[in-house]
Assembly symmetry: C2
Homo-oligomer: 147 residues x 2
DNA sequence: TCTTGATATTTTAGGTATGAAATATTAGTG
DNA sequence: CACTAATATTTCATACCTAAAATATCAAGA
């Protein structure tokens, strides 16, 4: 097993990801004044059908509970999400996209897709499929090693 | 151009990277009580031959100047690096690995390589080469788009 | 020399991130 | 019913991270 090649591959994956993330961060702030974690949280809510518990968001997004509290605080302050109490279990808070939040999220998701496909558009269709397959395979390998 | 496939590929790259980074973060803290950015900065110093200016570190690591200040503060506090004045230009600070820092870095770099090659070892040699080439190609594409 | 512009670093304000402790609340057990 | 364990969220301390402002210094021209 060529550990130098493994290392080079890892560095290349890391730097590509960092480049794209930085570009997305800039674009999201510029066009929507929203941070990447804030977009991610709204995407998680959208994925869940519009509303979700704090703890479920924490698990889905693979970040700590304490982190979710802060991100929701700022989104709530900006009127994009709201906290609701759950009568049958007073420990729980349900987070929902507000109407404004849902509207903004729709536009953000559209732009996000455009940005990504623009960044990747120069890769040939076949190469892109192959890269995707390689990454799916890598996912499985990593998860077996780590979890 | 299939923008759904582009999006799926991006998400997969992002989640793979996050998984590996999280694992490395845990291992570095457990074995060396050092964070990933701290290791990265020490690696940058090593790459530069042992010492380097703050501004050069900032450029090499692609993070803000202010960030470097904080990371160096903590590494200095822990005795792994030191700041030295440059007599001929008093604006400049030269950061160097201390003897202790160089010794620890040697062990960390070795373990880091082992961890990465262990995480990727199940990928076949040919597949790994192919993945690496795909990522190098992607790098070029992205940089042309962004810079 | 004085001013002006460029360079180098630090500081500040705002936002993420973690893990651990603190708070509430619920649910199960004796 | 009181006690305890489990669950849900927030708070706290620490570390990262950025962009922009502040500070200090250098270098060059009027």
């Amino acid at each position: 097993m060529d550990s130098e090649l493994a290392l080079k591959t890892w560095f290349r994956m890391l730097s590509n990801t960092a480049l794209i993330e930085q570009e997305l961060r800039t674009l999201f702030v510029r066009e929507f004044n929203v941070t990447l974690p804030q977009f991610d949280l709204m995407a998680a809510l959208h994925h869940a059908g519009g509303s979700e518990k704090m703890s479920a968001l924490s698990k889905w997004m693979k970040v700590s509970n304490g982190n979710i509290t802060g991100v929701v605080d700022r989104l709530e302050r900006d009127g994009l999400v709201e906290r609701q109490a759950l009568p049958e279990d007073r420990r729980v808070k349900i987070i929902s996209l507000t109407d404004a939040g849902a509207e903004v999220f729709g536009r953000m998701a559209q732009r996000h897709k455009e940005w990504i496909s623009s960044l990747l558009e120069e890769i040939g269709e076949g190469d892109l499929e192959q890269l995707h397959l390689q990454l799916v395979q890598l996912s499985k390998t990593i998860k077996r090693k780590i979890l």
